[in-house]
């Protein structure tokens, strides 16, 4: 395969449409006769609905129908099967009974001729409840009991810890974080001739289609899910939420298209969140720093609707060598909606705990924290003994440390200053899975020399359109401007979700295969009777740079081949497999170095610099890959310093449910981000050597900040976010 554009910073092929407003998102579709739906949400966090009074709302202007549990059409539950690709996290279907499981649950849905009329009427629907008490946070949930989900053990971790020469024993806690993509959830649904056609802001058109097929007892072929553009999802749009099902159901019931947009405040209740966690870490080591025991016991909040396990210890069993280890996960029920994956689920919060504890261990050992990590590096995955397919963690450490100037760091707490500012420098490892899943693609070559790639995946803003175009351009040897990428449509060949950092590694091999198959088909046509190379042995023909060539210097364009035969195109289909079972362990690796400043006079905490080095296989596009890592670091800094969904303990309702009070980083908070992409191909995983890059940059960022804060102030903050009131000396 020629390598002309892969790896380089090719500008986003969808950039022009996005910047000019041509890109249409789920709520930009307005089928004729479309009505608008708006929700009424529970104000209690647990109990039963006694009555829904719609008497005022029914008579409001534009109201078409008001649905609730007494009059809602019956839907079927999805089995919530990941292997069958019909996953949901809220198992119950909307309005299936009168039970309230969390504040902000749908209790009614108003459909009206305009959005404003629907909202206006929704405010006038009066629900009354019989409320029960319920756990409003994880601390209260623990009182109701803890359910262990799973555990992994090597050796006897408890006795190894007890007999360790140096120990760290600490508990780390993280708050609920809410996905806040710029584009809110939206569904535009219509039914036509027994088919359901949905424009959905989703990270998985295939999963959405399959789930709706279960809900409506339809064959998947009777459903089209479209997601041309998505204003990101961060995991919150992997699976469908109640509003999507409800919108499709009322569109069928009313016999007209219906659109629903989930208001920002209800994205804090009915579309998932990263759960609250409490993580107990125990590390035992020899005085030389060799780890002898790693224990990571975590508990996360889940709902009464479904058990969601945040895999906090997912990285812990593989990241460092230790003969003795225990990783366990447990849940406790809290009266909130069901949590769902949020960018870097598991390791995103898990490495805050582990990598903070590693820093605490380094201090206990009086050892450089980077050296401690180097010393416990493992060249095989200790969880299964397999060698890593490609692991350049030590190079990450070396290169980022050099760029950061780690050797100049004075380890003494509070020893580094810049004017009024105390300077702190911290380090933490990053880690994420590397895998691929089965994927199909189709490539169509046309007489005009263009090629269309079809795949039922989607681009959530990460650059998927662009790297597909690059891959096709390079494989076919034609200009990227002649590649048309068609994704975001469930009727296309089976594609992958945009999640888990596996889209790139899964999709691109299918694209390469389909390009080659299409080229083979054109070669075959070229040798047909009446074709330019009639009678040639196809083994002697070659598709190169967009034309078919023989050994004698002749060449034929697609037009030369297809037009005389009155053929429209040459099509190639390809199926690529999931992760190879080849005896290797797969992962991506990296490190974040963070420098913070703390001004004790003004209680200001600022991140001054971040240097990251990431080993995520071959880089497909230097610009979009870098954006992924930088964006993940920004999100990690947000988790470190700002993000927390706050709930009222008495009502269970989130109180900071808007962009003004739910704090994510703004530009003014952002330091210079210096990202080193190692770009070492992992050819065991696929022929492009690509892994994935969406999540790894976030992992460990919070710990690097916490470790830097300790270095500056001597304050060990084990509860996120690290806000000024937790660092300040004075309390009143």
């Amino acid at each position: 395969m020629s390598q002309t554009t892969i790896g380089s910073a090719v500008a986003r092929v969808d950039g022009f449409d996005k910047l000019t407003g041509r890109a249409r998102y789920a709520a930009d579709f307005h089928p004729e006769g479309m009505a608008h739906a708006y929700g009424v949400y529970s104000t209690i966090s647990r109990g039963r609905i006694v009555s829904i009074d719609t008497s005022i709302a029914d008579g409001m202007p534009g109201v078409i129908e008001i649905f609730h549990h007494d009059n809602f059409p019956t839907l079927h539950r999805s089995p919530a099967s990941f292997p069958e690709e019909n996953m949901v996290d809220e198992l119950r279907t909307p309005f299936e009974d009168d039970v309230v499981h969390y504040a902000g649950q749908f209790v009614a849905l108003v459909v009206a001729d305009t959005f404003e009329h629907a909202r206006d009427a929704a405010y006038r629907v009066k629900a009354s409840y019989d409320a029960d008490s319920a756990a409003a946070n994880l601390a209260q949930g623990l009182e109701g009991g803890v359910t262990e989900a799973n555990r992994t053990e090597r050796g006897d971790a408890d006795s190894a810890f007890d007999s360790a020469e140096v120990k760290v024993d600490a508990t780390y806690t993280t708050p609920v974080e809410t996905h806040n993509p710029m584009e809110m959830h939206a569904t535009t649904a219509r039914w036509a001739n027994g088919k359901l056609i949905v424009h959905e802001s989703t990270q998985g058109v295939i999963f959405a289609r399959n789930t709706l097929a279960k809900n409506f007892d339809l064959d998947p072929s009777q459903i089209e899910v479209h997601a041309d553009y998505i204003g990101s999802g961060f995991g919150g749009k992997l699976w469908l939420w109640p509003h999507s099902l409800a919108t499709c159901a009322v569109a069928r019931e009313l016999g007209r298209p219906v659109q629903f947009m989930l208001p920002r405040q209800n994205m804090f209740t009915t579309s998932g969140h990263r759960p609250e966690t409490s993580q107990h870490i125990q590390l035992g080591a020899k005085t030389d720093g060799t780890l002898t025991s790693i224990i990571h016991d975590s508990i996360n909040s889940t709902s009464s609707i479904n058990t969601f396990v945040e895999a906090c210890g997912g990285s812990t069993s593989s990241l460092y060598a230790s003969d003795a280890l225990r990783v366990s996960h447990a849940t406790a029920q809290v009266a909130r909606g069901t949590p769902t994956p949020m960018r870097a689920p598991g390791a995103g919060v898990g490495l805050f705990a582990l990598e903070s504890a590693m820093d605490e261990l380094a201090i206990a050992l009086d050892m450089d924290p980077l050296e401690l990590r180097r010393q416990n590096f493992t060249a095989t995955d200790p969880s299964d003994g397999k060698p890593w397919s490609s692991n350049h963690m030590l190079e990450c450490y070396d290169r980022a440390a050099e760029r950061f100037g780690w050797a100049d760091r004075n380890p003494q707490v509070g020893s580094m200053r810049d004017g009024d500012w105390l300077i702190g420098q911290g380090v933490a490892a990053c880690n994420w899975d590397a895998m691929r899943n089965p994927c199909d693609a189709r490539v169509t070559l046309r007489p005009d020399g263009s090629a269309t790639v079809h795949c039922a995946t989607q681009d959530i803003g990460t650059g998927t359109y662009t790297i597909i175009a690059q891959t096709a351009a390079d494989t076919l040897g034609i200009d990227i401007g002649r590649i048309h990428v068609a994704i975001g449509d469930s009727t296309f060949p089976h594609g992958q979700i945009s999640g888990g950092s596996w889209a790139t590694a899964s999709i691109l091999p299918a694209i390469v295969g389909a390009c080659k198959a299409a080229a083979d088909k054109l070669v075959e046509y070229a040798a047909n009777d009446g074709a330019p190379m009639a009678g040639a042995d196809t083994d002697d023909l070659l598709f190169e740079a967009g034309v078919v060539k023989n050994g004698r210097g002749d060449q034929a364009t697609p037009a030369d081949i297809l037009e005389p035969q009155k053929l429209a195109h040459a099509i190639g289909d390809f199926h690529s497999d999931g992760s190879p079972e080849d005896g290797y362990a797969y992962g991506s690796f990296g490190v974040n170095f963070v420098e913070i400043g703390w001004n004790p006079n003004t209680a200001q905490l600022k991140v001054r610099r971040v240097v990251s080095s990431i080993d995520a296989g071959a880089i497909m596009n230097d610009a979009t890959a870098r954006s992924q890592v930088e964006g993940a670091i920004v999100m990690g800094l947000g988790a470190a310093m700002f993000e927390a969904t706050e709930y009222d303990e008495r009502t269970g309702r989130p109180v900071n449910n808007n962009y003004a009070e739910y704090l994510v980083p703004v530009n003014a908070d952002m330091p210079e981000l210096d990202v080193i992409l190692l770009n070492h191909p992992d050819y065991h995983l696929n022929e492009l050597g690509a892994r994935g890059i969406g999540e790894i940059g976030l992992t460990g960022v919070q710990a690097a900040v916490a470790n830097a804060v300790y270095h500056a102030t001597g304050k060990r903050i084990r509860d996120l976010p690290i806000t000024l009131d937790k660092i300040m000396d004075e309390t009143a």
Partner: protein, 334 residues
């Protein structure tokens, strides 16, 4: 959003007339009003658009004062040359408020009339004495870390007045000019906003039938230095956790004149008169600044999650006094 009438006024008399006799609201930048109407927290039956009134000028007034029209946008005010030169504290406060997009819309009078950010007020369902008098205050025992006060609170309401601009104006000293059906009157800026007391739903001195037409700033203090220190979790687009507007004029190393006002901690823009009195005639040094800070916060009442605001406000005061002093002309250095 309920149905409402919309009237565009072209002069102040017409605006006041259009507003009279019904549940009406003046629409200027709309950055508070539209937000709260969408949330169904404010339910005006009529909106009177005042954006076309001839109130968008900043003009020199008598005695060296500066007269700001009601519809002057925050951005225009912040970048006005006279404001930047003579009222640095106001320019800085404006530019640390909200976001650029909001500042481009928000107006001077609208900012004076800004509603609280209390989540229990904004949710439309929690007990709230401001929204539904007599129902109780949900914030006192609720989540109250950020936009809740420690000064001027009552058992009926603890919401902070969220404006940054108003804190600077409270320090500068100003007059609010209002017009009603029977003519105009002036209200001292310090008297305009009310503490909640037993009536948190009554937020200001403006009568139902009156319209703010101008805010006139007191003449600048000669040779003074001024600044606005705003402390918060993130660096932009967040309401103050604690902020301080300080204006300092020196006579050698001694403070000749000083103005201090606080944001983020008070139920109204909070002028610190007692601390000012103590500072006048005192040496401009850190010890005296810290003592003034302690005095300013001595009557503060902490709530469940906001006790940190008391030391944080002291830091804001001390830092603001230091920075304003460094900018003051005619003085020594501290």
């Amino acid at each position: 959003m309920r149905q409402f009438d919309y009237k565009r006024a072209t002069d102040t008399d017409g605006a006041i007339q259009a507003h009279a006799g019904q549940a009406a609201a003046y629409l200027a930048g709309g950055t508070t009003l539209i937000d709260l109407v969408k949330l169904d927290v404010m339910q005006p039956e009529r909106m009177v658009d005042v954006n076309r009134l001839a109130l968008s000028n900043i003009e020199d007034a008598d005695d060296g004062r500066l007269r700001i029209g009601a519809t002057v946008r925050n951005t225009a005010l912040a970048y006005d040359d006279r404001v930047k030169r003579d009222y640095t504290v106001l320019s800085e406060a404006l530019l640390q408020g909200a976001s650029r997009q909001l500042r481009n819309r928000a107006t001077t009078a609208g900012n004076v009339m800004q509603r609280v950010r209390c989540s229990y007020f904004r949710d439309g369902i929690s007990p709230c004495n401001k929204r539904e008098p007599g129902t109780g205050c949900s914030a006192i025992e609720g989540v109250n870390r950020e936009v809740f006060a420690v000064l001027g609170t009552s058992e009926h309401c603890i919401a902070v007045h969220p404006s940054d601009m108003c804190v600077a104006m409270a320090a500068i000293g100003a007059t609010v000019e209002v017009q009603g059906p029977n003519g105009t009157r002036e209200i001292a800026f310090g008297d305009f906003h009310k503490m909640p007391g037993n009536t948190p739903h009554i937020e200001h001195e403006l009568a139902e039938d009156e319209l703010i037409t101008h805010v006139t700033l007191d003449a600048p203090i000669e040779d003074a230095g001024s600044t606005y220190v705003k402390l918060r979790d993130r660096s932009s687009y967040q309401f103050a956790l604690a902020s301080c507007a300080a204006i300092v004029a020196l006579d050698g190393d001694v403070i000749r004149e000083v103005r201090l006002a606080l944001g983020g901690v008070g139920t109204k823009p909070w002028r610190c008169s007692q601390a000012e009195e103590q500072l006048v005639g005192a040496a401009a040094n850190e010890e005296n600044f810290a003592q003034a800070a302690r005095l300013a916060m001595q009557d503060a009442t902490p709530y469940k999650h906001n006790a940190y605001k008391i030391p944080l406000a002291r830091k804001a005061i001390t830092q603001a006094l230091k920075d304003a002093t460094a900018r003051a002309g005619n003085g020594g250095s501290i």
